[in-house]
């Protein structure tokens, strides 16, 4: 039935099965490179779900999310290096710093609409990248390395890949739950209203600025958390690895490819995108550096032309056209 306040048992079952699969998956993997591949998928999915909150549900397309990613990575790393703070705390601090930054940047940028907003986010991210690259305090282009001497859960440094897998899986689950909670609350309805018809939303008492800032802040927080995780996993960050435009595009593309404004679309998008990326890398080797950018560009064109609703949209169309499978049609 259509009553969305009650949990759909089929969807709940699907979620539990998916989670169980993800939990058991590493048990059959011994090759660290293979496990790393799945970690990359989960990282992409977590970022895509986070981006989707502002870019998908609220329809405010950001192409500068690397700025939040970088803030998260640098904040937790700097706190660990200078104060010896646990990255778990650093992760939260990075998230909060990203929220502050989102509020400051969103205030002027949200006066711009559509493409102009997207362009402003690119500009902000580029400016921040240049500032960090030239900052002595942040070691500039040299980057920051985390010391290997402390390992264990408190320092979030592990010799094996396995703990990283479960940490990022946990972060993805939290991120999906946040998106899910938003989707079901009045905030989710307001986001969609703002995306569909901003003027009509205002006439119904929805403050555009307030709700766009909420969307950007939540998204920024979760993206920064993903950045902190990246820093812990790689133990080395520099502006070129966390603040670059390619990261921004990848984060957006994961969600756009999978299906904007859908809960699990970005997860699906990450599976597809990271798989293609990894296989193209093995196929072309180091001579093919930049092939991933070519592939991103091709995918953007394909999605734009054939399925603006992403792969999720394709699947929904397919389900509608398959006879007898039309469970969704009973309410129509």
């Amino acid at each position: 039935m259509s009553n969305r306040t009650v949990l759909d048992p089929r969807k709940a079952l699907g979620a539990v099965a998916l989670l169980a699969f993800a939990l058991l998956l590493p048990l059959g993997i011994t090759d660290p490179a293979r496990l790393n591949f799945f970690i990359l998928i989960l990282m992409g999915a977590q970022l895509g779900v986070a981006w989707n909150i502002v870019g998908g549900y609220a329809g405010q397309v950001s192409l500068g999310h690397a700025v939040f990613y970088g803030i998260g990575a640098y904040c937790s790393t700097m706190l660990a290096l200078s104060l010896g703070l646990s990255p778990w705390i650093g992760m939260l601090a990075g998230g909060l710093l990203a929220v502050v930054f989102a509020l400051v940047m969103g205030w002027p940028c949200f006066r711009l609409k559509g493409h102009y907003f997207a362009m402003a986010t690119i500009a902000v991210a580029e400016i921040v990248q240049i500032l960090v690259t030239n900052s002595e305090f942040l070691e500039g282009a040299v980057g920051l390395s985390l010391p290997l001497d402390r390992s264990g859960l408190a320092a979030m440094v592990f010799l094996s890949k396995l703990p990283y897998y479960y940490i990022i899986l946990g972060l993805l689950v939290v991120t999906v739950l946040v998106a899910w909670a938003i989707e079901r609350s009045h905030i989710g309805y307001y986001f969609r209203a703002i995306k569909d018809e901003p003027e009509a939303a205002r006439a119904l008492g929805v403050s555009l600025t307030r709700y766009k800032l909420i969307a950007l802040s939540v998204s920024a927080f979760l993206t920064a958390v993903g950045g902190s995780f990246y820093a812990q996993k790689e133990m080395f960050i520099d502006p070129g690895s966390v603040f670059v435009g390619a990261i921004s595009i990848k984060i957006a593309l994961v969600a756009i490819l999978g299906g904007v404004g859908t809960l699990m679309g970005p997860v699906l998008g990450a599976v597809i995108l990271i798989t293609i990326e990894e296989y193209s890398r093995t196929l072309f080797g180091s001579t093919g550096s930049g092939t991933d950018m070519i592939i991103y560009a091709m995918m953007i064109i394909l999605v734009a032309v054939f399925s603006p609703a992403g792969v999720m949209g394709l699947l929904q169309d397919l389900r509608r056209h398959l006879p007898g499978a039309g469970k969704t049609s009973e309410t129509r």
């Binding site: 079901r184 609350s185 309805y189 307001y190 969609r192 209203a193 003027e199 205002r202 929805v206 404004g261």
Partner: protein, 239 residues
């Protein structure tokens, strides 16, 4: 003690880069009153609506709602105070069902989704769209979409509703239904200002008519008075 009128507009003017859309308009709206707002195309009716609903800031003049100055307020603040509106060209949320559209309106007064759903169901029933609740709003007919906008506006629990050409493009039966809907809104104690070109829809039900021409108010009276007013006849038929 006399309470202030629901809406008092005093000397309102609005110019866009020298183009004067509204000039020196003054009128009063009482609680639960049905007021028709008519005038030839380009007379400034929609501009006046936009000023009242907070979408435009008037260049001159004052707007008071229940005695409080709301000149130059924002649309969201106007909605909060109890001024709801529909749009001349419908602006439905096309990614949502009919019910969800109305729920967004109801969420102004309750942030609980279940409560908003309950309220939205009532308003859909009020405009006669219950059977379309789960239909994607974009699949509704234009006439249904106009009623959906009315339901969505009513869900915000307004004291005044601004209806912008809700009868345009409707057939005779639908016009009669729309007129009855306005009367039922009045019976709920909600005042309405109705921009309308469909005279047979508005004249029989309006308590009062305001007539604009070239941005200025040229007449204000009962439908019978308006119909015989020489200035109104001149505006509509030419000298």
């Amino acid at each position: 003690m006399n309470t202030p009128p629901l809406l008092a507009v005093d000397g309102l003017g609005k110019a866009f880069d020298g183009l004067v859309a509204n000039r020196d308009i003054s009128f009063i709206i009482h609680h639960a009153e049905i007021v028709g707002l008519i005038g030839p195309n380009g007379a400034g009716k929609t501009t006046l609506f936009n000023c009242l609903a907070g979408f435009h800031t008037p260049t001159t003049g004052r707007i008071a709602f229940e005695g409080h100055d709301i000149t130059g307020t924002t649309p969201e603040a106007a909605a909060e105070l109890g001024i709801a509106r529909t749009f001349q060209i419908v602006r439905i949320f096309h990614s949502m069902t009919a019910l969800e559209n109305v729920m967004v309106g109801a969420m102004l007064r309750t942030k609980r989704v279940a409560d908003a759903r309950h309220r939205a169901e009532q308003e859909l029933a009020f405009v006669g769209l219950s059977h379309r609740a789960e239909t994607p709003a974009s699949s509704l007919t234009v006439s249904e979409q106009k009623r959906l906008e009315v339901a969505r506006a009513l869900a915000t629990d307004p004291k005044l509703i601004l209806l912008d050409e809700v009868m345009a493009g409707l057939n005779q039966t639908e016009v009669r239904e729309a007129s009855q809907l306005v009367v039922r809104i009045h019976q709920r104690g909600i005042a309405s200002i109705i921009v309308e070109h469909v005279m047979e829809g508005i004249m029989p039900i309006a308590h009062r008519m305001l007539v604009l021409d070239y941005g200025a108010k040229i007449a204000d009276g009962t439908p019978a008075e308006i119909a015989e007013n020489p200035a109104v006849i001149a505006a509509y038929l030419g000298e």
